[in-house]
């Protein structure tokens, strides 16, 4: 039974009902210490059930093992077979027309982080070995993991559908972690005395991908996207590293990180509104989407759209309602990826 299945939550609810009934039945037959223990068990079961449901929504701990594992130890994952050119050939293609998600361990020299990264390889990756593909980094929210993209937002099915419909060119999509500690919100920044996530995502991940995957290296073929915290990340990273990315799409992102980075940069260099008013704007294309009833994302997104000046370009996408939820992001996935693909350089001969 997986940690994020509805059956697990239902079982937890059954446990709550059982221990509650147990407390009621045993109350008259027990003394004070046992009664305290009974209450503690009931409270634990209720909070545990609520936590399971929250975890199911956010995929913070996508596997049971993530709860008990040493957070610093890399997860046991399939790694690329061999080294050199053979490493660029992933093991088995998926069914025709279907891309494949493969997970690798990506150790970053510059950022000092070593985390798993899931990679969507389009069907054409296996049928067209002569081509190098455009790349999109897709960042998850907080709390969350790449599994949120895979399980809650069904990214592979969405990408397959858009590529088959011809609305998107075959594209490699990278799903990196944006934090080494599942309960630490980094907002993809280099935190003072903490993880160097910005460096990991903008240097180590691209370097690893170029060494191991058949992708294009030029900025014209690199884009970045994300939802919620990942939406802020996508805009902030692209604006800070326009030599790495030519387009970014934000799904319900904010204009500021909402955390303390440690050097005060949440008010300056890691604040999009500050950057747009204090620095020359780069030649970059932004797609900014939000739900009109999601107050924080709406205010931040509108502010960014208002501050943007040439050569920076902004396209907005508005969902009437839905708040800050997966329903909104599922609605935005197709439009955001279609737009990104229409900005990025095409698959090309190696």
């Amino acid at each position: 039974m997986t940690i994020d299945s509805p059956a697990t939550v239902l079982l937890a609810i059954a446990v709550v009902l059982a221990v509650t009934a147990g407390l009621a039945l045993l109350w008259d037959r027990t003394r004070v210490p046992a009664r305290i223990a009974l209450v503690a068990v009931v409270v634990l079961s209720v909070t545990g059930t609520a936590a399971l449901e929250l975890n199911r929504l956010t995929e913070t701990y996508p596997h049971w093992g993530d709860l008990v594992g040493d957070p610093d130890a890399p997860l046991a994952l399939p790694v690329l077979p061999g080294a050199g050119p053979s490493a660029s050939v992933p093991p088995v293609p998926g069914p025709p027309g279907k891309g494949k998600i493969v997970t690798y361990q990506v150790a970053g020299a510059a950022g000092g982080m070593s985390m798993p990264m899931s990679v969507y390889l389009p069907s054409e990756y296996f049928t067209r070995p002569d081509l190098r593909f455009p790349v999109i980094e897709a960042l998850h929210g907080y709390p969350g993991t790449p599994e949120s993209w895979i399980r809650r937002l069904e990214i592979a099915a969405n990408l397959d559908r858009e590529i088959i419909a011809g609305r998107m060119a075959p594209t490699v999509v990278l799903l990196p972690y944006q934090t080494p500690d599942l309960l630490l919100d980094t907002e993809c920044t280099n935190m003072t005395g903490g993880p160097q996530t910005e460096t990991y995502l903008t240097q180590d991940v691209p370097k690893w991908a170029l060494e191991h995957l058949r992708i294009r290296s030029d900025r014209a073929a690199w884009g970045v996207t994300g939802y919620s915290a990942g939406g802020f990340c996508a805009m902030n990273l692209a604006l800070k590293h326009p030599q790495q990315y030519s387009a970014a799409a934000s799904l319900s992102g904010f204009a500021d990180p909402g955390i303390k980075v440690g050097d005060g940069s949440e008010k300056t260099t890691n604040n999009i509104a500050w950057r747009l008013t204090h620095h020359p704007q780069p030649d970059l294309a932004l797609w900014i989407g939000w739900a009109e009833d999601d107050r924080n994302a709406r205010v931040g997104s509108r502010q960014i759209a208002r501050l943007a000046k040439a050569p920076l370009t902004v396209v907005t996408a508005i969902v009437p309602r839905g708040g800050h939820s997966h329903a909104v992001w599922r609605q935005m996935e197709g439009p955001a990826f279609d737009w990104l693909s229409a900005q990025l350089a095409r698959p090309a001969q190696a």
Partner: protein, 239 residues
């Protein structure tokens, strides 16, 4: 009653208190005890959830909670006005009404690639080739053999400027299945004109087959009309 309103939170909290009082008072009766405890648990969790939801607007309405976003993804279809002629000929002398002001030496030529018809309905990025009378025929042949891009062949004059060509994009998107992605191929004669092009697209010097390949490589793929959501411009309010 609004999902994120104070009244619902107060009502839930009040019910939680009522449930606690009723459970304590009816403690002697086992059914009251069990149902009361469960009611307290549900109401306390609901109250905490409502407060968190109000502060972060995860689900600002009952509709949002039900996964209703009220959005329709629009996939607009775009056909070029000259598609029939272009499918038949591959290249045509192009004389839209706007061309009178472009001040070119000869009428522009519109050239579609060998893959323009198949698969149907895709829009192509655009190559604008700024060339000379002498090279025009050769450039037209190269363009016709280059897949994945629509080419506009222009032979400018000294009177041609980026400003006079301002209507080119609109004319193109009306007449041929094309996107806003543009790259330039420029004969050395027209380097200054190319450099002043609106939007500053990438300029590749020359117009050999290799120059075509280089320019096309950095353009997006021909794509079907994207899924689209309403934008601020659609709403008519810039802020």
């Amino acid at each position: 009653m609004s999902l994120v309103g104070i009244p619902l939170i107060l009502l839930t909290a009040l019910l939680a208190v009522v449930a606690v009082v009723a459970t304590v008072r009816g403690w002697r009766l086992l059914p009251v005890r069990i149902v009361g405890l469960i009611a307290v648990e549900v109401l306390v969790v609901a109250c905490v959830g409502l407060i968190a939801n109000r502060s972060e607007s995860f689900y600002p309405s009952w509709q949002a909670l039900g996964g209703d976003t009220g959005a329709a993804v629009v996939t607009p279809t775009t056909a070029g006005r000259l598609d029939a002629a272009l499918h038949a000929a591959g290249a045509i002398d192009w004389s839209p009404p706007e061309a009178a002001r472009w001040e070119t030496a000869v009428p522009p030529v519109l050239i579609v690639p060998p893959d323009y018809a198949e698969p149907a309905g895709r829009s192509f990025p655009v190559l604008v080739a700024l060339t000379t009378r002498a090279d025009a025929a050769q450039v037209e042949r190269t363009a016709a053999a280059t897949p994945g891009v629509v080419t506009v062949l222009l032979v400018p004059t000294r009177a041609t400027t980026a400003a006079t060509l301002g209507t080119l994009g609109d004319s193109l998107s009306r007449d041929v299945r094309s996107t806003a992605s543009v790259a330039l191929l420029a004969d050395p004669t027209w380097a200054a004109l190319a450099a002043s092009w609106p939007g500053h697209p990438v300029v590749t010097p020359g117009h050999t087959a290799a120059a075509f390949a280089t320019a096309v490589r950095d353009l997006p793929s021909p794509l079907a009309a994207p899924q689209r959501l309403p934008s601020l411009t659609d709403q008519g309010s810039p802020s």
